[in-house]
Symmetry: C2
Subunit: 338 residues, 2 copies
């Protein structure tokens, strides 16, 4: 195990390119600046998802603008120009605050969460956006809104962002005026209107965890039906394809930041569909990279054409497994990419 | 009010046809045989949704095959050859049984419900299917599975149906051997794989209530976010369109049985997309019919082309309102269809 870890570690500095020369960026999901070191040590090409809710949890009041700014700036500086996508507060659902009671809900996953909370508390939302904007003077900072379901929500969020920019401008505080804003694609509605949303934002990041839950109407935490939580469901793959197609038509970037991104079996899906970037936990980066270094994009595209003809998740999983077995065999004893 | 009620009542026997000669069948949603009389009095052309869960609720044990058979047969006979679509048990979510405890769930709408329950209790499921099959000898009975999310679930349910048929056959009990089976389309996954599902079943019935909930990730019972429950969301309309397109490609029928079907504002959506049948509460049938009798299918199709270019639910609702205002104006004082 130690040996394989050392072997993987050698891949950290290898360019993130398939054998047939296509790139797929590997970025990190982080919840704190501390986690950034491990991510960079594994060769992360940026942060695709900074989960800011952990700044809001484990304390006794909402963090101030100054407190947030310090954290975001530190992360931006450590990244030295690599992208830092900061997701605005994604509270609610199964994530609660000790000091601010959210209403009891019958179905919290379908409830008052994420951007819904932020848009209902624009005062708090603006504090966060000001902190992010101020940090944007120190690196390649980008903003991402969670749980977007409509064009209206993006516009409303961007309206608060514009206000925050106006204030900072008036105060003479520096920030990046063209800070890119993107959205999580994790609500089925966002998939269905991806073509409309693509005109409002600079990038999409597909959150597979929630997207699979809502698409299948399955709470992944519910043990009674966990067998129905199936990321390789043909419906999920069709939704991924629809998002990529909409993004490509408008020329915007599509990332994937859910758990599925860290599943090495899914690599031909990303290469086959033409995803730009995966955002992964630090420990998933190198295993995923190892798989990428021996997966041909061309073969992945052909595989996806086959896979879109299959009717069940089991058929899809079996086909992916066969693809990997053949790729491993073809790679033989050659250490890929080294 | 009485006068307008009497005027509406005259429409009960008028053929259900648009001014330009296209038909849209109007069937009823019922929860008991008692409700069938009111529905037939309003000119219902059949039952598009018999909610059988009420046979299972308000009692102290599961209903026997004989008890269910009596009810289904009575409904079939009353309908005298008009279609009777019986939905298999749709328990769970917010519908519980006193005598059979379902597990406590964090998100019951995303939980152990409907066909998931039936497939986990094939003994109970088979009792219901046997009762329905026996009733099928007495009318135009059809079977509908709720909350279908995959091809596998349909096949598994049909497997139990085949077993029930085999048993009845062996017992020499008469039933309709080609009883049509259909599914509710109410899970976003079912929309995404509608083309695959259409090869497994004889009809679709779109359940707008759950479909809107899952598509928007909004619990419609949650007051905190009820403003986000929006059936006229452009994503919902795109999903309706996708379902109709898949069904048409395979030549199967598409009905709509959610609450949206009873909203007269939605009429041009059904005519424009080419829905076959609406299934409505008894009191909604005549108001919906009145609207249909003055709504041109041709104009509805043109309207939908416009509507699919709009970006927000508000724009869509406004456009629908304008369409209705113009149609009412055009109809003038002429009593439509009489
Ligand atoms: Mg999420
Ligand atoms: Mg339902």
């Amino acid at each position: 195990h130690l040996e394989s870890r050392a072997r993987l570690q050698q891949l950290a500095q290898v360019p993130s390119v398939t054998p047939d020369g296509e790139t797929l960026e590997l970025a990190a999901n982080i919840s704190s600046v501390k986690e950034l070191d491990a991510a960079l040590g594994s060769g992360a090409q940026g942060v695709g998802l900074f989960r800011t809710e952990f700044l809001y949890m484990d304390r006794s009041r909402f963090p101030t603008e100054e407190e947030q700014y310090e954290v975001y700036r530190m992360a931006a500086e450590k990244l030295q120009g690599k992208p830092l996508i900061i997701r605005t507060l994604d509270i609610g659902g199964d994530k609660q605050l000790d000091y601010h009671e959210l209403p009891e809900e019958e179905n919290p996953f379908l409830g008052f969460r994420a951007i819904r909370f932020s848009l209902s508390r624009k005062d708090l939302f603006k504090v966060q956006l000001r902190a992010i904007l101020r940090a944007s003077a120190y690196g390649n900072v980008q903003i991402m809104y969670p749980l977007i379901a409509s064009v209206e929500e993006v516009r409303e969020a961007n309206g608060v962002l514009a206000e925050a920019m106006g204030e900072l401008e008036a105060e003479g505080v520096p920030f990046r005026k063209d800070v890119p804003t993107g959205i999580m694609i994790e609500v089925p509605a966002a998939v269905a209107v991806a073509e409309l949303l693509a005109e409002e934002v600079a990038f999409f990041s597909i959150g597979t965890n929630d997207l699979v839950q809502f698409t299948l109407a399955v709470d992944r935490m519910n043990e009674q039906i966990s067998y129905l939580y199936e990321p390789y469901h043909p419906a999920v793959l069709r939704m991924l394809r629809a998002v990529v197609q909409a993004a490509k038509r408008r020329g915007i970037q599509v990332n994937v930041c859910g758990e599925l991104a860290g599943d090495v079996r899914a690599m031909p899906i990303w290469l086959g569909l033409g995803i730009h970037e995966l955002s992964l936990s630090a420990q998933a980066i190198l295993p995923v990279k190892e798989t990428m270094l021996r997966t041909y994009a061309r073969e992945s595209r052909a595989l996806m054409e086959e896979i879109f003809k299959l009717r069940t998740a089991k058929e899809i999983r079996d086909r992916l497994e066969r693809f990997h077995a053949e790729a491993t065999l073809a790679a033989g004893n050659v250490r890929p990419g080294v």
